[in-house]
Point group: C2
Chain length 281, copies 2
């Protein structure tokens, strides 16, 4: 595995792969790998000739009061784990490389960037769309792999790709969970023992929502209220519970087709998200 | 010359060129060709194996009260002219192809999109940056050719390419002028005989500014006032006269280095722009 820090060096290496007709798979990350990240690398490894993983904690997607500085990092461990997954290129650019002085171009996604996580984190998805557009242009991958955990992000990236005619295809991979159901996240490391125990309520509430829907419930407010009662007992602050059309995150009057059920909540000061996609008949 | 209307068909044709290691030159236009456009095609033809010209009157760069509907079009003449320049692919997409239903991703350039033409035409450069980003991703050219006439647009495109890591290089080509000095523009067709005669004042004012600077004048306001006196006599409304740093369009206290001198003014209802770049010692 080659560790590459400059855009130019990465492009040179990947151009050489392309000239030999190698299919390139790409996993963009913020590092501090957990099994979720590793599952994406494994899928990319299986489906491509060449696997690129990027590690970059993108400052433009963090708000001024968010956890950019204390976001967990462990480069040595990440390198070891990526190497074990037989990644070919680990791209670790500096902020000077990604946002040089005078930087001023941003990508925005108007219809769905301001709801859910975008409502609580203004500017977050503008930062995400911009860095993803940059990374896609730098890597020029055939396929990029994302986890379902950041479902809204994935919807925005899919739209960005379609709207800006980017030629990288997207694959969404399932959420990887701890044994008790908690969705894996680098931010889980912020939780103390009591918080960790309470955090499992997000996945439990989603599980109950799925059961309700599978047993025929079609009223969004009934599903939401049931989840709310479970959550308010355990979390310190509820951000949102959403039951939306899974394709475009639009509101629905009645549950039908492919539905996204999402939660964001604070346990202590840690903001956790989780979601499921439920297909009704 | 192949006339292509679908993005998919164009990409297929260009992929085949790339597989054969052909260098692709690209000239994006809004059609209604004049010698300025043709000079870009000629340069692209000379420097590349394969030349792509696009014709698309991009609605997102026109304001609600601007001339989108009456912008001059003559497809048959354009086809004839492009063929004569030995263009390989003429890309003429529909708006349904470029902005399908649900479109919602835009590219913005914050530092320089709101001054000069951006101040008079709010949202104009957001539309320009978005369509250029789309066209660059669709065509994947090695080099794209733009005229100096849209100087601010060119600065924005250069920054967009740098910021979003687009791999197409940009070449700026000189303004092509009528015999009396008027910069060629598709919008010149709007002018009646009297207006056409008065329109030459833009290039005359720039010529005088150049002479002033070449003879040692270093005070921007003196150059601007001299031009203003010439223009107010002939134009119906002055939009701006600017003397700025040519690299980043920043303000200067004193004229030095590479300077951009730009004018925008209305002759009747037609808004005309022109500029020169002057290098001081």
């Amino acid at each position: 595995m080659k560790i590459i820090r400059s855009i130019h060096a990465l492009q040179k290496a990947l151009d050489s792969q392309r000239r030999r007709n190698k299919q390139i798979g790409f996993v963009p990350t913020m590092g501090y790998f957990h099994d979720g990240h590793l599952s994406l690398m494994r899928k990319a490894r299986k489906e491509n000739d060449c696997v690129v993983v990027s590690i970059y904690v993108n400052p433009t997607q963090f708000g001024p009061k968010e956890d950019l500085k204390k976001y967990p990092r462990n480069r040595n461990r990440d390198v070891r784990l990526a190497r074990a997954e037989k990644v070919d290129f680990l791209f670790c650019p500096s902020t000077k490389e990604m946002y040089p002085q005078g930087f001023g171009t941003y990508v925005t996604n108007e219809p769905i960037a301001d709801i859910l996580c975008g409502a609580t984190r203004p500017g977050h998805f503008k930062g995400v769309a911009t860095i993803v557009c940059k990374l896609f242009n730098i890597v020029g991958a055939n396929v990029a792999y994302f986890g379902q955990k950041d479902y809204q992000q994935l919807c925005i990236i899919k739209q960005l790709i379609k709207d800006l005619n980017i030629r990288t295809r997207i694959k969404m991979c399932p959420i990887v969970r701890e044994a008790d159901g908690l969705a894996m996240s680098s931010r889980n490391t912020y939780l103390n023992a009591d918080q960790r125990e309470r955090a499992v309520v997000l996945s439990h509430a989603l599980c109950v929502a799925r059961t309700l829907i599978k047993s025929g419930e079609r009223r969004p407010h009934v599903v939401i209220n049931k989840m709310k009662r479970m959550l308010l007992f355990k979390v310190d602050r509820l951000d949102y519970i959403a039951v939306l059309n899974a394709t475009d995150l639009s509101k629905v009057r009645s549950i039908s087709g492919k539905m996204y059920i999402g939660i964001a909540a604070y346990i202590g000061k840690t903001r956790l998200i989780d979601n499921i996609v439920v297909q009704t008949k």
